[in-house]
């Protein structure tokens, strides 16, 4: 009983210290995001070139895909099917 009481005290301390620590830690992460990341985002915005290249990418894809509008939909479905078989992006998280 003595022993159990001591365990309870230890568990209670753990609970308290643990929750304090978790909140402190994730709270500091908020500070980090609000202070460091926001400044970085202002200083290094996503480059216009990058946006452009992304656009070019999309264009390229359309070109590769074959320029016919019907085909685009077909491709989307083909790619989706392919991803389902090989990537399963929505369910992958469950892997853990």
């Amino acid at each position: 009983m003595e022993h159990l009481n001591q365990l309870f005290v230890e568990a209670g301390t753990l609970m308290f210290a643990g929750m304090v620590f978790v909140f402190t830690f994730l709270g500091l992460m908020i500070v980090f995001i609000n202070v460091v990341l926001k400044r970085l985002a202002i200083k290094f915005p996503d480059a216009v070139i990058q946006t452009r290249s992304a656009r070019t990418n999309q264009k390229t894809k359309q070109n590769v895909d074959g320029v016919s509008p019907n085909v685009v939909a077909a491709i989307t479905s083909a790619v989706t099917q392919y991803r389902k078989q090989h990537n399963q992006p929505s369910s992958t998280h469950k892997t853990k």
Binding site: L14, V22, M29, I33, A41, H93, K94
Partner: protein, 376 residues
């Protein structure tokens, strides 16, 4: 005939023990849940299969020289498999929603109360005769409340390897049961009006933020909680590979082939801990019960925290997204979205719930680090 007799003595039928039969049924039950009920099949299927294999009389799968013995000691006892999976999960995780709305980190923090309250509860179960949980055992059990499979396996393999099987079964089962466990608690703790709250659209997040975020998380973990760095470090490595844009082939492999290979062996290895001696006892019942408690308390804590924040915050926060703080990515976020849609058919909470959802992953890795530092 001597040879036929020898053959008979080498059959399973002549050597079965009742415990092995029961554990095979447990294994089949896990397969059923995985296949027919879609309970986290990627892990429960190999785990259930491993449970069957390890209980085959004479086959020696989990004895020295056996396949599952190699797998367990090479991959789980060392912690390598859960860490590789954590790297893959990191490579699959998009922190955009979290960076856009960092307040949701507090929801991920609050939901970890499920862990620490369960730790207390596990100690309390010692009052029941037949149950004797040390502080290490209790910590390993409590982590079920983190709703994160690899974290639970990693911690259990360090603190209480003899309970690993039961803990993994409980963790993955309850993760699969999130859509059943959470909604009643969410509805009970919120009003109709609260559930209808629509949230402001998230700001776009730049590439640099997504690259620096995992590094920042790692640095903070290094400064304040080195014992969590195996889990957080591998997670952040995966996430950095994903976001940096220069190692796409590594990121893709980490998210696909590598995590798949590891998942098969992790499941088999965990299943090998489902032997009769280790599983068929009152402690397993205790673990299963505590797991349900842990999930419920975590859900409630998250929702209550979100209610509090909604009152204090200038921008509206739907309390439902607090439930996603338990992690169980992306199931818990989907549940929040679904319950929200019931109250308000135009209210799509999915992206908003992804913030606390991934915050919960970090939160439970941090909690695991605390338990390792203080109890391990």
């Amino acid at each position: 005939m001597d040879s036929l007799n020898k053959l008979w003595l080498s059959t399973g039928l002549a050597n079965f023990e009742s415990g092995q039969v029961i554990m095979m049924i447990v294994g089949c039950l896990l397969l059923y849940l995985a296949i027919a009920r879609n309970f986290e099949p990627l892990l429960l299927l190999p785990m259930g299969f491993g449970a069957i294999l390890t209980n085959i009389p004479l086959a020696g799968f989990s004895e020295v020289g056996g396949l599952l013995h190699f797998i367990y000691y090479a991959g789980i006892d060392t912690g390598i498999f859960p860490l590789i999976i954590f790297m893959g999960v990191g490579a699959m995780t998009d922190f955009g929603a979290l960076i856009a709305n960092p307040k949701t980190l507090l929801l991920g923090a609050a939901a970890q109360f499920g862990i620490f309250a369960t730790l207390f509860g596990a100690i309390a179960l010692n009052a029941i005769p037949g149950i004797e949980f040390t502080l290490k055992d209790a910590s390993a059990i409590a982590i079920i409340g983190g709703a994160d499979g690899p974290t639970a396996i990693f911690l259990a393999s360090k603190l209480a390897p003899e309970l690993l099987g039961a803990i993994a079964v409980a963790a993955y089962s309850y993760m699969a049961l999130v859509p059943i466990i959470q909604p009643p608690i969410m509805r009970a703790l919120t009003t109709e009006d609260e559930r209808k709250i629509e949230m402001a659209q998230l700001r776009p997040v730049t590439k640099i933020e997504k690259i620096v975020f995992p590094l920042g998380v790692l640095m903070m973990t290094i400064f304040f909680l080195p014992s969590a760095t195996p889990l957080v470090g591998m997670f952040c490595l995966g996430n950095l590979m994903r976001e940096c844009g220069v190692v796409d082939r590594l990121s893709s492999t980490a998210q696909n082939e590598l995590i798949n290979i590891t998942t098969i062996f992790l499941g088999l290895g965990v299943g090998s801990k489902l032997s009769a001696e280790a599983f068929l006892n009152i402690e397993t019942l205790g673990i299963l019960g505590l797991g349900a408690v842990a999930f419920s308390i975590g859900t409630a804590s998250g929702v209550l925290m979100a209610k509090l924040m909604n009152k204090l915050s200038s921008t509206p926060i739907n309390p439902l997204i607090g439930a996603a703080g338990v992690s169980a990515v992306p199931m818990a976020a989907r549940v929040a979205n679904k319950v929200g849609l019931e109250a308000n058919p135009h209210n799509f909470l999915l992206m908003h719930a992804m913030g606390p959802n991934v915050a919960g992953v970090l939160g439970s890795a941090v909690a695991a680090g605390i338990l390792l530092a203080l109890v391990g």
